[in-house]
Symmetry: C2
Subunit: 163 residues, 2 copies
DNA sequence: AATTTATGTCAATGAGGCTGACATATCTTC
DNA sequence: GAAGATATGTCAGCCTCATTGACATAAATT
C-alpha cells in the first residue's frame, strides 16, 4: 500500500514559519555543507569542461594518481559505481592518454591502472584550485581547528560494514 | 615491487609513484571532503528512493521549509539550476501535496512557495539522519572546534561576486 | 499600448548513473 | 585436463537530473 505517500485530501494549509534549528536537528551545518561542496566541485568542473570531461573523469584521475597500480575492482569499490558506468569514462581517459593499463604481474587477469605524465599533470591542475579554496577557508585557523576539521570530515564517513 | 619498463615508442610512460601531498596541494582534505559528502547524502537518498523522489526533491523541500514564502526565482538562485530543471521536480512535489504555491500579495505574478504539514515532516525526516551523522562526527569536539568547522565550511563557499 | 518581468511549458540533448546478459582470458580446484 | 570461479570488457536499454532554445501567459511597469 501507501501508493500515495503525500496527503491529497482537500487543501493542506501552507506553513509560513521557517523551519528552525532544534535540539535534534542542526540545519545550519546541513546547509553549510551543501553550499561548501557545491562550490568546491565547481572549480574543477570549469577546467574539465574545456576537455569535454566531467566530474566522473575527475574522480578516476584523482584516485589513480593517488594509488598507482590499483585495479579496476579497487576503483569500483572506491567510487561505489558499477563497472559499466566506469567503463565509458575509463576508456575515454585511456584513449586520451591520461591513464594506462598494465596487466597484473601476478594475476594477469587484472588491469592495473597508472597515470601517464599528462595524467599526473591533469590531476594536479584539478586539485590546485580546490587546495587554494581549502587554504582560504582555513585562513587564521589554529592547528587545533585544522585537526578538528579533519576529524569532523573523517567522522562523517560511513563506518565499516562487517561482512 | 613494481618496476618501470623502458619508454616504448608512442606509449607514454606510466607513473608508479603515488601523488603525495605537497606544500601547495593537500590531497588528504580533498579526499576527506569527497567521502564525507558522498556518505552525507546517502542517508536521505535511501529515504527518498521509497517515494520515487531524488536528491533534487530533497533540496527543494529543504529550502522551501527553511524559507517559506520564497519565490521560484529565489529557489533558482539558491540551487543554481535552470527553471526547466526545477519545473518537473517542483510540480511533483506540489502534486504530491508537500509544497503549495500562493500568488504573491504584492506582485501577483510571483508564486510564493510554502511547505504543507507533510512537507515539513518530510524535510525533518530527511534532516534527521544527517543531523545524527553530524553529531556523531562532532563527538568529543570542543566548542572551539565546532565553531572552527562552521567557519571552515563557510569559508569554502564562493565569495560574493560584485555587481 | 508597449515592454518588461515572473513563471510555465514543450522539445531536444547530454552526462552519468543503473540492470541484465553475455564474452574472454586467466586462475583455481577437483 | 576439465570444470568452475574470477577480473574485466562490452552490448543494449533504461532512468534521473541537469542543460539550451523557443514560445506562452499573466501581471506589472513605462
Amino acid at each position: 500500500m501507501s501508493r500515495q505517500t503525500g496527503p491529497k485530501a482537500g487543501k493542506p494549509e501552507p506553513l509560513a514559519t521557517p523551519m528552525e534549528d532544534t535540539d535534534i536537528i542542526d540545519f545550519e551545518i546541513i546547509e553549510l555543507f551543501f553550499f561548501a561542496y557545491r562550490d568546491f566541485v565547481s572549480d574543477p568542473d570549469a577546467i574539465l569542461e574545456k576537455s569535454g570531461f566531467g566530474r566522473a573523469h575527475h574522480r578516476v584521475v584523482h584516485f589513480v594518481n593517488r594509488n598507482p597500480g590499483m585495479t579496476v575492482a579497487d576503483l569500483l569499490e572506491t567510487l561505489k559505481i558499477t563497472k559499466q558506468s566506469l567503463a565509458r569514462v575509463l576508456k575515454q581517459l585511456i584513449d586520451s592518454g591520461y591513464i594506462r593499463q598494465v596487466a597484473g604481474p601476478e594475476d594477469r587477469r587484472q588491469r592495473k591502472l597508472y597515470p601517464t605524465k599528462s595524467g599526473r599533470e591533469l590531476a594536479l591542475a584539478l586539485a590546485e584550485p580546490q587546495s587554494r579554496r581549502i587554504e582560504r577557508a582555513f585562513e587564521g585557523a589554529s592547528a587545533e581547528v585544522r585537526e578538528g576539521v579533519k576529524g569532523f570530515l573523517s567522522g562523517m564517513r560511513d563506518r565499516q560494514k562487517a561482512d
